[in-house]
Amino acid sequence: MTVVLVADDDADIRDLVAFKLEQAGFEVIAVEDGQTALEQARSRQPTLAVLDVSMPGLSGIDVCRMLRADAATAGILIIMLTARVQEQDVEGGFSAGADDYVTKPFSPRELVSRIQALLSRARA
């Protein structure tokens, strides 16, 4: 089973995404902050990570940058989740190395499609 890491400080959104992903057949590691996300990414080596941009402490963008900077985790596919919709937020995500970007509120089905698309592109 493909392992997906989900990091969001909002419990409801975290559960929502986890439920949806498990339904779609993924194994999910759900964490509530950036530091734990980094630790789990290093130890569990997920294929893909869904990171909320605005978490207290280490933001999703910080985590993304740090994952890319570490050879052990640089290959993890990364999708950023955010409610912030200024241009600089989008650019910030991509320049930190994210592979895709979803704005809240998002349809859970759409998120799963994007994840599946990323995964199949990566396999190809």
Binding site: L16, F19, A83, T103, F106, P108, R109
Partner: protein
């Protein structure tokens, strides 16, 4: 009822940056001796209050849910909770009040309704107004809009403003994500099948979550416009192409409502403008025309060049706007009584934003309408010379 001596002030106060007509500066907020970082301050965001700038300084009143905290920054300003300071007001008062000129604080605000929390003011993102109270102090009423600020006036503030909008955006969208996300999963029977009645109810939740989302977008745009953070990025455009694209995007919705929609464009119509914003204008005006036209009606969109102007005319055979209400049409939140009567959904924010965009482009917008006959909206924009 407005207390005597209140000055109505409708133009935003210009300065290094403004929010609701109030000069602001960014920095860590000192709240009664405690310095709060920008991050923790952001958390309190919707509950905070901004008051105007005294000469050379900024007064900010930090607030927590249900309480007004002491003002920070300029110690010479009125203190919350003290006699004459921001506190209990008597009546709600629309408009922006301005202090007496001699070195008094200038304040910003817009209209709102007074709400009282636990023993103090319940502060919500939104608006309030201040006016001079007795003994040189201030009285306040209504819901007050906030942004914590500190430091000498003239400091960096675009960041503070953008940060404010960005945080409001986040605060509003986060719960919306859960509402629509869970509702959609229920609707799609993911945790299990629903009964007919349950399904209909869930669909109502999904629909209204979507409406709420659109409202949030509009309100945020409107706030950005008002605070001057709505930048225009001009480029060379062809209005003819924009119109054709807008019409083809709206054709499915028009067909569904059995409203005939057609474009009569004589292009090209080169002009300089912000494509994203003009798209928004077209979507709003054409969308409105379709929305307010009953089945079997028509909407015609004409775009042509007249002298040095690109002229856009959107004519519909819809319900029209009552003559008595036409002047108020571009006000924020305006909803015509016949639209309300016919339960046409919408927050009424689109036209205010539309007009702002048209004016930003150096253009004009006029509306002619007859109830039950139709409405014609004419937008004129300065055109560029076509390149030969």
């Amino acid at each position: 009822m407005r207390p005597a001596g209140t000055t109505r002030h409708t133009a935003p106060v210009r300065g290094a940056g403004t929010l609701c007509g109030t000069k602001i500066a960014a920095g860590p907020v000192r709240d009664g001796g405690t310095t709060r970082s920008a991050g923790s301050v952001r958390r309190l965001l919707v509950w905070a209050v901004v008051v105007g700038a005294a000469a050379g300084g900024v007064i900010a009143v930090g607030a927590r849910r249900g309480r007004i905290g002491p003002p920070v920054g300029d110690a010479s300003g009125p203190r919350a909770g003290q006699a004459g300071g921001p506190g209990v007001g008597d009546a709600s008062s629309p408009g922006i009040a301005r202090a007496g000129q001699a070195g008094g604080p200038r304040v910003g605000g817009v209209s709102g309704r007074r709400t009282e929390g636990q023993g103090g003011w319940r502060l919500l993102g939104g608006a309030g107004s201040w006016w001079p109270g007795g003994a040189g102090g201030w009285r306040a009423a209504g819901r007050l809009t906030g942004l914590r600020v500190v430091g000498p006036a003239g400091g960096a503030l675009d960041e503070a403003q953008t940060d404010f909008m960005s945080t409001v955006s986040h605060e509003l969208r986060t719960p919306l994500t859960s509402i629509s996300g869970y509702a959609e999963m229920l609707r799609d029977a993911e945790p299990g099948e629903l009964s007919e009645a349950q399904l209909r109810m869930v669909e109502a939740i999904v629909r209204n979550a979507r409406r709420l989302r659109e409202l949030v977008e509009d309100i945020l745009t409107q706030s950005r416009i008002e605070s001057g953070g709505f930048a225009t990025h001009p480029a060379a455009l062809d209005l003819a192409q924009l119109v054709e694209r807008a019409v083809s995007t709206l054709e499915p919705a028009a067909a569904k409502a059995s409203v005939g929609l057609r474009a009569e464009v004589s292009g090209p119509l080169p002009l300089r403008g912000d494509g994203v914003q003009l798209d928004r204008v077209l979507a709003s005006l054409i969308g409105n025309a379709v929305k307010f036209t009953p089945a079997a009606g028509t909407v015609t969109v004409r775009a042509e060049r007249r002298d040095d102007q690109a002229v856009l005319v959107i004519a519909d055979t819809g319900m029209g706007i009552p003559a008595s209400e036409q002047n108020a049409l571009f006000g924020r939140f305006f909803r015509a009584t016949n639209a309300l009567h016919h339960a046409v959904p919408g927050a009424g924010l689109g036209l205010a934003i539309t007009r702002k965009i048209v004016h930003n482009h150096g253009g004009t917008i006029h509306v002619r309408s007859t109830e039950n006959v139709g409405t014609t909206v004419t937008v004129r924009l300065p055109a560029e010379q076509p390149k030969n």
